[in-house]
Symmetry: C2
Subunit: 456 residues, 2 copies
């Protein structure tokens, strides 16, 4: 074991291919279905909104997919990201645990999101697309796509959940600095947005609604495609650079994680760090306990149903099998905008359903308490989303202390909180609260789950 | 020459000592004088506000000063910082120049400031000090000291220039997240502050005023010391880790800079990158052109007088010989809060006076234009202070293009702009302007320069 604090790889150690977990799974994941026919959809159904190479990745069963040279060249601007041993946090917790964290906050957008944004912008540019349109919640994904589009000379149009649009003007400023056009969603620019506003003119928006608007815009223009920041297989695939680098870095550290923790909203940062380690577990090379942690007030993995559902509110997307709270569920106004989504990535849901991972949830106040404790020990202020992983890691580390076990714990510190200071200020001012489990709202949304037509 | 984008050093390559330029200078720098007697001050004059080890560093003529192990351990949280080859910016400018930049924005506070904050907190903690008090403008220094104090278990009290206190609430939030107490300056907590407010209750503050308040508080409590984020010799000394790392990294790149550019407010980031290279120049090992760049509206190096002056508005500090615009000069409300200071580090001033460096100035709009061009090429949004270095570098690179010369240019990208989005938003909204050279105000302030009593 090394006495280092930071484990850095060289530019040449950026992975040459992404890891695809699909062929290693115990069986094929449930197909994506057409909501009208109940038939599995084909590439042609996705062609109006995604370019061909991304559709191929979405359905690929190849074990590895090569990272194009142009994408690796841009990854070099911030990758490989550092792996840290949290020695000061360990000391503050007085735990025998060895705590490691991968820090994705060094990217231009301050999170893991550019890993997929750059890849998506590249493939779309190559396919002759002129403009990408997307949704964003807290703004991590939107700013990542804005930066990626600026690199590849693509126009970028972003539907930002209205509550975040007003709460996080600097995230919007960052997107605009890179040339993107940002609209508060629901907007009057789309039929979906107008329909929502007609029912509720003061609607503060949700990720599901913003997805509807972005998909609608993309479907209507031949030179425009849609980009999604999480949930889909190809997005999770791009994020595996995180876990692949981690595997080399843990080797440098001379340890192997017994517990791996990641926070989950749509599932992409979690899958990014976890899937390569799950691959080793599935191949019986190395065992590991993998813990997904989500907000108690938006508990898709811990309280949702594993069922076919829409990815958006206006039901423009195909049906995917996932842990869902119902596509009409609007989560309470948590400060972790990136975790306020009704569903979960189908591949992450599949892993939970098959017992490959565990899921747990934490309340908002515990996450901010953990974020402050982490910051004061390690010097890095985590994004509210990332504090969920910090909180679950602290729980694990304190359990190690109680049991006198020196376990090795690894978590993904997926982003910094420099754009989220208002939430920390609100926390210190005593303005934040825990939200009760929204049982009735979730039950109602689940009652509205689509009935899947019988195929054939 | 390598084809890399990023040059990373290992943890063990963090310098083991800071570089002191003083013994390499052509002669001893002018002494600091007591404003009452005109006599050079002694360590005992500084003891009420600084701890002994920092006073020793302030007057040291040793060529190298060892970096304590505890400080290096904390440096490891983000150091060594990356050196980048700006290949995409070069392409955007279509210049034959090779542009390199050292990126200090990866630190916990997002700039170079923690390099000195950590050292100052360490020495004060070791000396039994319980509390540090300081001033801050844009908040880079204040948040760095807040983080450093949190690491060493010191209380931290910060006087933040009032206009920035209100313009940059998130910087204040960051300081508070690390446990610091932050007050808008001028405040009613000090005699200096009350005297300023009595004259002008709506005074929006300046760095000179905030320094007065912080020094006053420190001088009144035995367990409290003052910390300064720039200007003084020991602060510049701590920043030389930047240039020392750069020297190794340029060697990795197989090049040596012909032109070095740094922005100057108090002088610390400039000295940090420049002094080790100036050392090699003074020792006739390697020649280099060194360019300091400052705001045209606060032009201490290009338009100021090289004279003895106070460091603060209320004249609580000793007299230092420096390029000054007069301690009562209040710069226009530029968005580069960190460069709004009436004076310049005495060591930087000395270097200019002796022809070791050049100085130039740029207007605000040119700096934001440069910042946006840099961001869209390199993916990193620079702090408004750092955009001055970017603008001067772009000028140099375009001159290379005009002359058909492939010069190697190095600059210090001393911080990111994640807390400065409002200024970019104002820039895009056409709300920013260039300020005319404040000739009358500077003339008046210079007319009020202190007369130095005849020593003896």
């Amino acid at each position: 074991m090394s006495d280092r604090v930071k484990f850095l790889l060289d530019e040449k150690d950026i992975p040459e291919s992404w890891y695809n977990i699909v062929p290693d799974l115990p069986g094929p994941p449930p197909p994506v279905l057409h909501p009208g026919t109940g038939q599995p959809i084909g590439p042609q159904d996705l062609a109006p909104i995604f370019c061909d190479e991304l559709i191929m990745q979405e359905v690929s069963t190849a074990p590895r997919i090569e990272i194009p040279g142009e994408v690796r060249d841009i990854y070099k601007q911030w990758r490989p990201t550092p792996l840290y041993r949290a020695r000061r946090l360990e000391a503050a917790l007085d735990t025998p645990a060895h705590i490691y964290y991968k820090y994705e906050g060094v990217s231009p957008a301050g999170s893991h999101k550019p890993n997929s944004a750059v890849a998506q912008a590249y493939y779309n540019k190559k396919a002759g697309v002129r403009r990408l349109v997307t949704e964003t919640g807290a703004g991590q994904w939107g700013s990542s796509l804005a930066i990626a589009c600026s690199w590849f000379g693509l126009d970028c149009e972003i539907y930002m959940v209205k509550v975040s649009y007003h709460q996080k003007p600097y995230r919007r400023g960052l997107m605009e600095a890179f040339g993107a056009k940002v609209y508060a969603s629901p907007s009057d620019r789309t039929a979906s947005g107008r329909a929502i506003l007609a029912k509720d003119p003061n609607c503060s928006g949700s990720l599901g609604m913003a997805i509807s608007e972005a998909v609608e815009v993309a479907a209507q223009s031949a030179d425009t495609k849609y980009a999604l920041g999480s949930v889909l297989n190809h997005v999770l695939l791009h994020q595996t650079v995180v876990g692949l680098e981690c595997q080399k870095q843990m080797e440098m550290a001379g340890e192997y994680p017994e517990v791996l923790v990641g926070c989950t909203g749509g599932g992409s940062n979690f899958a990014g760090i976890a899937f390569p380690f799950l691959g080793a577990k599935l191949k019986k090379q190395k065992d590991i306990r993998v813990v997904a942690v989500e907000p108690s007030a938006c508990p898709s993995l811990t309280k949702g149903r594993y069922a076919y559902d829409f990815g958006d509110t206006s039901h423009l997307t195909p049906l995917v099998k996932m842990h869902t709270l119902g596509s009409t569920f609007v989560p309470p106004p948590l400060h972790s905008g990136g975790l306020r989504y009704h569903g979960m990535a189908p591949l992450v849901s599949y892993c939970l359903q098959h017992g490959l991972i565990e899921a747990t949830s934490v309340h908002q106040l515990e996450t901010f308490q953990a974020g402050v404790q982490f910051a004061r020990a390690e010097g890095i202020l985590p994004a509210p989303e990332a504090t969920h992983a910090v909180a679950a890691t602290i729980r694990e580390a304190l359990r190690c202390k109680a049991e006198g076990k020196a376990r090795t714990i690894l978590f993904n510190l997926c982003g910094h909180g420099h754009f989220d200071l208002q939430s920390y200020m609100d926390y210190f001012a005593g303005k934040l609260k825990d939200y009760a489990y929204p049982e009735a709202e979730i039950a109602m949304a689940l009652a509205g789950l689509p009935s899947v037509p019988v195929a054939g």
